[in-house]
């Protein structure tokens, strides 16, 4: 069985994999959003998602260590590692104290920040292409690209805020409150903003060369208006939260 899912939040992903294992589907592989499952006894495995220093690889040390712990490395994807352990061998939680959880989420935060930096580089390249292009259809293509990249950047910034909120909560448990990291949950950019920018990109992408039918033009107009409204609402929502 293959299912498509997009997760930015590794805790939600872990929940999903464990819910599936509970129903008798053990995840066995992953590729760009497609999760493949084999049948298993309901609740046979407990899944966990870890992050490593490597990219599509883990050190021999890590591999041997997990093997000794009775933990199976199911698959590697980028810096992520999907692990599982037989539920019969007892509970399976990767990070069991506040200090190591903080280290774990710090690594995740760094990863998202690197991703944002890379997306910004791509966005700058697309934008400079748009400026350099001469015919309207390629300008539209580049602008659509910019919009879609901007939507991804907003999503990633939301993730950084979410992780910062988790970190602030963990630090508070140690009594080390960082004034810069409190209330990050309120400060994350609105999902409306992301949807609006994404829809805006789609609308530009749908732009016909010339002379589409009236109905098509009207539909496009409605979509674009919706995109603008969403972006506006998103901006207002974001600023309002930040102002609180």
């Amino acid at each position: 069985m293959v299912k498509f899912r997009m997760y930015f939040d590794k805790d939600k992903e872990t929940e999903y994999l464990n819910a599936m294992a509970g129903k008798g589907y053990a995840m066995t592989g992953f590729c760009v959003g497609f999760y493949s499952f084999d049948e298993c006894w309901p609740g046979e495995y407990i899944y966990q998602v870890d992050i490593t220093e490597g990219f599509f690889r883990v050190s021999n040390d890590y591999r041997e260590f997990m093997q000794e712990m009775g933990v199976e490395i199911v698959c590697l994807w980028g810096p992520w590692v999907i692990l599982r352990k037989k539920a019969a061998e007892g509970p399976f939680q990767l990070y069991t104290d506040v200090e190591s959880s903080i280290e774990h989420y710090e690594k995740i935060k760094k990863l998202f920040k690197i991703a944002i930096a890379m997306e910004i580089i791509c966005l700058t390249m697309e934008a400079s292409c748009a400026v350099g292009a001469t015919d309207s259809s390629s300008i539209a293509m580049y602008l659509a690209g910019c919009s879609l990249l901007a939507a991804v950047i907003v999503l990633l910034v939301r993730e950084v805020c979410r992780v910062k909120e988790i970190l602030a909560e963990l630090r508070a448990r140690l009594g080390q409150e960082d004034p810069h990291e409190t209330r990050w949950g309120n400060r994350r950019p609105s999902l409306f903003l992301c949807l609006g920018v994404f829809l805006n990109g789609l609308t530009i992408l749908l732009m016909p060369e010339q002379g589409g039918s009236d109905l098509y033009e009207a539909m496009k107009g409605v979509l674009h208006a919706l995109a603008l409204v969403l972006m506006g609402a998103g901006l207002v929502d974001t600023l309002r939260r930040r102002g609180r």
Binding site: Q48, D50, D61, Y62, E64, F65, M66, E68, M69, V71, P91, F92, Q93, L94, Y95, T96, D97, E99, S100, E103, H104
Partner: protein, 106 residues
């Protein structure tokens, strides 16, 4: 030198269980035993702690057999013992001072 103490509970108990050679799973079991099941180290926590403490030179690999059935064992180093002793002094001070609480009751 960077201040090494207070140690986290995990580091404290891992150092303690490495006073004699021990492997990963053995550390988890020993710590669980020492604390009556209160501290159960997760694999991620233990792996990170071993990596950090090896890098700092508090523990070192004791034996590594090429035979894959034999597990990698670690042991505390002299530096590790110094850090542990410093932490012990700090904890003793805490306990000594904690006794003073009794003086306030009659």
């Amino acid at each position: 030198m960077e201040k090494q103490t207070p140690l986290t509970e995990a580091l404290f108990y891992i150092l303690l269980s490495l006073r004699k050679p021990n492997h990963g799973y053995g550390i988890i079991q020993e710590v669980e035993g020492l604390t009556d099941g209160r501290v159960v180290l997760g694999p991620g926590t233990l792996y990170g702690a071993i990596q950090t403490m090896t890098a700092k030179g508090w523990i070192r690999i004791y034996s590594e057999e090429t035979d894959s059935r034999k597990k990698k064992e670690y042991i505390i180093t002299e530096t590790g013992r110094r850090v542990f002793a410093e932490e012990k002094r700090r904890l003793e001070e805490l306990l000594r001072n904690a006794e003073k609480m009794e003086e306030g009751t009659w």
